[in-house]
Point group: D2
Chain length 127, copies 4
């Protein structure tokens, strides 16, 4: 999780909490994340959701990786928007898990994206 | 498309070609994209795929946005890996389109991720 | 919704309730739904989830169709299992909606599948 | 694969060919598959795609099951339409595979649905 934080540090993602299959994180849409119209690239919204998902699925202990994910872009995020992602476990089975992440804009609470991630406990720690 | 390039500039994504529903782009996995084990955050792989998808679906002319996407992480990418994404249109219907993007590692051509994006022609240009 | 019921009648799907973006339905895994090992074809589990989703997204009034869906098969269902699907709206935006459906086995409540559907209000009633 | 055929027999799905990660199958939209407007329930289109996917991923030999799938409904199918599904392997890694299935209407070749399935080789044969 610290690793996740480190990898996400350059984006200014702050993990507010993580535990028991849940996590919450924030990110501000900065200059490098938008196009000429000031609209955020969906990839950065995914990055926030994916990081929050990683914190949630690793909160159980064993090293767990993302096997895949699906995202629906609900509304555009804009330069200066503060986004908050909230991840929660939906189900776990064998080494697998499914986690739902909703990304909202702070302030008006508008939904920006809905994300569903598929996790898998690593066979052995990555080297 | 220039906008997409601009938004992706900070990541060093180079769009090699785009046209007729196809696009190809490259990105090198840098220090800010990896965790403590030198393994790339999947979100950056998504960003490359998503950018390539955006170039492909906008190559037809009308402003087109991502409605959503699905990604499967096939193999980890590592610090220094050069990734190449190739996007191609699968089908278009009404204002909608489906595009497949495969991300490979340059050199051994190993598949890193498979991405499928859903596009939608914008009702009017974003402002 | 009556139509959905009719189309699903041959499968014995009973819609227990539907309203305000939610729905619940039941189906028993019959002889024609299993393979030689007595394990249900995932397609029938999808059919139950998809029907429940259709009831939930049409419960708002306007004719609404499925634009797409994602399903994860969590555990196998077997001959004679009674499956219960519960659909609830996650978010709506413009003509679009996202609905989550969990399919469980009656009795031990084991999760059989997790489904996420994307709906779209029809431009005009199908003819 | 014979099992798959058996389970799908009630729907009249004919597997035309299967081998080397590919498969092709046909199904006619019958009375029990449509709603009051004569439009096919998407779940039956999924069933055809899923069956074709199962034949393709099992064509390699080892017993392989569907872990999940994503489907986009491109155009409605109607009573009497003959649908043809064509599945092909996109990539395999470890015990996992990704297969793309396109469902078309025979005659005008119109795309009805695009499906992407995720397969997994079974740890041991189901009992």
């Amino acid at each position: 999780m610290l690793d996740a934080d480190k990898a996400s540090g350059a984006l200014g993602i702050e993990v507010a909490e993580a535990g028991e299959g849940r996590a919450r994180a924030r990110m501000t849409i900065g200059e490098t994340m938008v196009n000429g119209h000031g609209i955020a690239h969906g990839g950065y919204v995914f990055l926030l959701a994916d990081t929050t998902f990683a914190c949630a699925c690793n909160s159980h202990g064993p090293v767990t990786v993302a096997a895949g994910a699906e995202i629906s872009f609900v509304a555009p995020a804009r330069l200066g928007d503060v986004l908050v992602a909230y991840a929660e476990e939906r189900t776990r089975f064998g080494r697998n898990g499914i986690y739902d992440v909703t990304v909202r804009r702070e302030g008006d609470d508008a939904v920006i994206a809905e994300f569903r991630g598929r996790s898998r406990v690593a066979e052995r720690p990555p080297t």
